[in-house]
Symmetry: C2
Subunit: 157 residues, 2 copies
């Protein structure tokens, strides 16, 4: 993992990774996220497409939802940690709430709307964490149709 | 309401408006949406911030969620009807799933990420429906802090 993160930040990233592994253990898509405010995790979650038959509970969305209703002034000082580059939905949600900083596990298996996020002034840090890359690559290889469904891609292969 | 919609489309818009009114009757934020595929409503919903303590269930998100898990090829032929111009989250979700067309009740009280959607090739039709405009204006006037929370605005006034 990149040495550019502080030890505390690496700890938060590992919590997002734990969420991804939890999702995998549940039979779900292994993507996890945590939302951090003032050095504390205030929301955590993982992709629940399979577990809840959900079209919107990507890992980041689940973390936002589990953080509950918050005023804008909180979000504007949060960092979002996610194991995978955020798709358009999760990028849009981060933009709605003006999340200023996103730590991303990897963007090798999927590159989301990073250019859009950066154009809105969001700071992005890409870790290219090998463990995360491998876990996601294995999942996609074994579940290509499910993965395509999750990212809105057609035809499924 | 604009005469540019077909009678069938006007009917679908009225269903979105019904959802908004249902939300208002529940004590919630009056924004509703329906997702239409092949002349049928496959998902409907309304903002549930208050009702479910949700940070992500905007009207459009609720409609996507209630439509359930769908393959990309379905979304790519859907029209989304929503009473209010879609925020960054709902715009991003529409982009994730490549929704090609969005019918919007009004963008007077709030203008979402229309420029972004248009830049991605999404067809937008803005109705400027007077009943919708008035309902939303009244709600915002009476609940400014709640409204600011829903659209991630600070300071709340």
């Amino acid at each position: 993992m990149s040495a550019t993160l502080l030890a505390e930040e690496m700890g938060f990233y590992h919590e997002a990774l734990k969420e991804a592994k939890k999702g995998l253990a549940e039979g779900g898509i292994p993507i996890g996220a945590v939302l951090v405010y003032e050095h504390k995790i205030i929301g955590r979650g993982h992709n629940r497409r399979i577990q809840k038959g959900s079209a919107i509970l990507h890992g980041e969305m689940d973390a936002f939802e589990n953080a509950g209703r918050l005023p804008a002034k909180i979000y504007q000082h949060c960092t979002l940690y996610t194991t995978l580059s955020p798709c358009a939905m999760c990028s849009g949600t981060s933009m709605l709430y003006n999340i200023p900083r996103i730590i991303i596990g990897e963007n090798i298996n999927f590159k989301g709307d990073e250019v859009l996020l950066a154009s809105r002034g969001v700071q992005l840090i890409i870790l290219q964490d090998q463990q995360t890359i491998q876990m996601m690559a294995n999942f996609i290889k074994e579940n290509p149709m499910l993965w395509n469904e999750d990212i809105g891609v057609y035809p499924s292969t």
